[in-house]
């Protein structure tokens, strides 16, 4: 189904960037790192479209651009509809001989707001129609571009400007929507999760998402030091911790068949390696309030939901459920 794409670190380092430096992203920006890496995994001519959001704003301030590939932005809620129009145009114009390229790939980037919330209708529609494109969700878990407001992708207990930790409410009271599972339920050919710490895994998944015929969905973990109140130097470390705590497990579902990716498979096979959620939470200011006696119940709840979701994933992947959780 997929080509055997072999690459060395040197290959990737030497491959010209399509997402160029000079953009206005913050120091330690997870999404900017994710975009640069993803554009290293393209296989040929690629048209990129962006939902409104941090990555669109930092990369396209007129008259400058960070994009060395055709790129278009139109609005916030419609990245998948953008891709639908581009793909439909390419398909028919190729058929009529109006474009010369044999193959032009289409990638749509959207943040969590543009995917979980305002963008889910366009995304669901585009996937149902079967357009051949890769949709990348760079998930920094809140509306960071507008100043850290909560989204459907914001995790339980996180303090944001619209779910602030107050004297009676401990941050966001709702769980993070299982967006990748929702996409698997569309019976689409390829869904995967990835983290920039495991960059080889990320690149392979991007290439698979591009190669697959029809729609592909890639959910990429993307820390935001500003919004998470974390050290800008620790973004990649956080990307590892999220996987090691099983808060953000890595998996792929090919034609609906779930399979754990190696970094998470290690946790499944050796449950003692699974770190407590606390280790991930305590290095982020957005969870600071949970480390007070008043809100410690919320901390326990986060661990409980993490374990519950992890165990559910293990079942889906046909892995033996560990007897004891961390």
């Amino acid at each position: 189904m997929f080509s055997e794409w072999k690459f060395t670190t040197k290959d990737i380092a030497e491959k010209p960037d399509l997402f160029l430096s000079g953009h206005r992203a913050c120091a330690g920006c997870g999404p900017a790192t994710v975009l640069r890496l993803i554009m290293k995994a393209t296989r040929g001519p690629t048209i990129v479209t962006n939902a409104t959001g941090c990555m669109e704003v930092v990369s396209s301030i007129y008259p400058y651009t960070s994009w060395a590939t055709p790129w278009v932005h139109t609005a916030f809620e419609n990245a998948a509809a953008n891709a639908s129009g581009i793909e439909a145009a390419l398909k028919i114009m190729r058929k009529k001989g109006k474009i010369k390229q044999e193959q032009v790939d289409v990638i749509a980037f959207a943040g969590d707001g543009g995917t979980y919330d305002i963008g889910i209708q366009a995304l669901s529609g585009a996937v149902e129609r079967g357009h051949d494109f890769l949709f990348v969700l760079y998930d920094n878990e809140a509306y960071m571009n507008t100043g850290i407001q909560r989204s459907g992708g914001t995790p339980l207990g996180a303090s944001t400007t619209t779910s602030p930790a107050g004297t009676v409410i401990p941050g966001k009271l709702e769980h993070k929507k299982p967006i990748a599972d929702i996409m698997v339920a569309h019976d689409m050919p390829y869904v995967a999760t990835a983290s920039p710490y495991y960059w080889r895994d990320l690149l392979v998944k991007v290439r698979r998402g591009i190669e697959v015929n029809g729609p592909a969905f890639l959910h990429v973990f993307a820390p935001c030091p500003r919004g998470w109140r974390s050290d800008p130097a620790k973004s990649i470390e956080l990307s590892r911790l999220a996987v090691e705590t099983c808060i953000f497990p890595l998996w792929e579902a090919v034609n609906g068949e779930y399979q754990l990716s190696t970094p998470s498979k290690v946790m499944a096979l050796s449950p003692q390696k699974k770190k407590p959620a606390k280790e991930y939470l305590e290095v982020q200011g957005r969870f600071r309030h949970l480390f007070t006696p008043k809100y410690e119940k919320m901390l326990a709840e986060i661990q409980r939901i993490t374990d519950e979701r992890w165990n559910r994933l293990l079942k889906r992947c046909g892995m033996v459920q560990p007897a004891k959780t961390a």
Binding site: V72, A80, S84, A88
Partner: protein, 410 residues
Amino acid sequence: MKTVVKQEMLALNGDEAVAYAAKQPDVDVVAAYPVTPQTIIVEKFSEYVANGEVETEFVCTESEHSAMTACLTASVTGARTFTATSAPGLALMHEMLFVTSGCRAPVVMAVANRALSAPLNIHCDHSDTMAERDSGWIQLYAENAQEAYDLIIQGFKIAESQEVLLPVMVGLDGFTLTHTLENVQVLSDEVVRKFVGSHQIPKVVTHEGKIVPFKLDPDNPMSMGPIALPNYYFEFKRQQEEAMRNALKRISQVNEEFEVISGRRYGNGLLELYQVEDADVAIVCLGSTTGTVRTVVDELREEGVKAGVLKIRAFRPLPVEGIVEALKKVKAVAVMDRSMSFGGGGGAVFHEVRHALYDLTPHPNVVNYIYGLGGRDTSPTQIRQIFEDLQRMIQAKRVGELVRYVGLRG
């Protein structure tokens, strides 16, 4: 004025006429969502696709927002695109209408004019398109199914003109036109294709001085739809206004060129005057009502009343000079609005026509008639009453109520 090519007479309703026009000029992508009373357009077009009568990628989207989005991005990828919608759909597209015109994407769209909720109503008025008058789209209104057919074909040519590059919406009155069977003269596919021409992608100069096509082209990467801060945004908008001015001329030219192949012309393309030249009293209107007014004008002329009707075909861009020229000798004018501008003291057409006449000394007395909301019928008798009101106004030398309502209870 002679028909240079053979045409076929078909019995089509307005929606069918629009679909027929959209299948002729080699449209690459149609992205649309069904909504009453536009549904027949997308149904007919789906049939053309299913029967292999068109080489078009039909994207049946999950919403009008996505339909307009997909048309926009297909257009900037280099495709000729078409869509159709109606009131709630147009309202849902609202955000994307501005993005499409701002991106200078020459999308052509038919709008089956319909009332906006609440209360829910599927019948004709112009609230939907009037609410989008500042969206940067060219707005043309059809009087009958024949004109709807002709306008769609002309629309592609106008929109894609290099000096224009603006999207075009063609309004046709819901049910009155969309669902009423008429005799429609259709041109052959070959003639239409030749008339519209192949989709020409404009050329732009890059910062490196290279001349490249203005589209998403892997050989010449370009960023489209960027963010422009206060130091640049304003200039983008001023350029759109320039394009609108160019459109005034282009709409007229295309009207002339269309006459050569079809034998049909509509005034100067922007306005159509009927018995206005020596009129004492005139009605200004747009859309299907014009036909009713024409009939009444004929009757009144027989009775010796100097009545006339000015049909606005292009509401955006508005041919201000043409309106002034047409109405400068008229003594009393009634502007008919099939939508309301709540709290604004009259409808949109009234505001604009009255504003156009401001510099005339003396200027005609201008009053507003709001009519036909939610599909309420407007009869020849009511039109006759409007003309009688205008005559009384002249005799009494008194304007009276500026805004009046036609056929309203109470």
